[in-house]
Amino acid sequence: MTPTVRVQEAPFDLAAETAALSAGRVDVGGIASFIGLCRADDGLEALVLEHYPGMTERSIARIAQEAAGRWPLTGCTVIHRHGRILPGEGIVLVLAASRHRTAALEACAFLIDWLKTGAPFWKREEFATGTDRWVEARAEDEARREGWG
């Protein structure tokens, strides 16, 4: 199983990425998906995501390999956007495919939980008032990561 990992500015296509995980094969029993979206909290006008080219892709690939070691996946895809993202747009797409639903659903949850604390991305919020601020890491995210052991 070779994970698909992409860090890109462009939006992603859920339908196309999902189809790619079962194209030409008949052993895939389920595909779980998670999409993180940009919310317009507190008058937010845009999110600007910074990353560490090279390290970010490698970190995500390693997390995907960790998932593949824990669950019998037939495929997995992680696409994370960087740059300026508007409310309503997707930020991150995680797909996990397996013969059975439990592995797909658990691996998908694991992937997004580990990605939040283990891949170098930083979010800056831009507001309609012209102000901006860096998003702070949340202890809850770290706790969820620890929960997977």
Partner: protein, 83 residues
């Protein structure tokens, strides 16, 4: 040694990347942070709260005790907030 800064550390340091040659007694990440902090008021501001600074050496997350040597790529950044 190549030093990279991301997010608010980049803004405070006033640069995203610089090439530095610290003295030989700067042997680990913590010592490098203290040495870099003395470079300018901006650097001092970037490293003012070490508890809010994370690091990577050669693109691997690491703690303040991790060794550094000439030729390394050392990055400093806040706790990550992707996803």
């Amino acid at each position: 040694m190549r030093v990279l800064y991301f997010a608010w550390l980049r803004q405070r340091a006033g640069t995203g990347e610089e090439s530095v040659s610290p003295p030989p007694e700067v042997r680990d990440v913590g010592a490098l942070m203290r040495w870099l902090a003395a470079r300018s008021p901006g650097h001092a501001s970037a490293f003012a709260d070490p508890a809010q600074v994370r690091a990577a050496v050669n693109q691997e997350f690491c703690g303040p005790d991790h060794p550094v040597k000439p030729g390394d790529e050392v990055a400093f950044f806040p706790p990550v907030t992707g996803g």
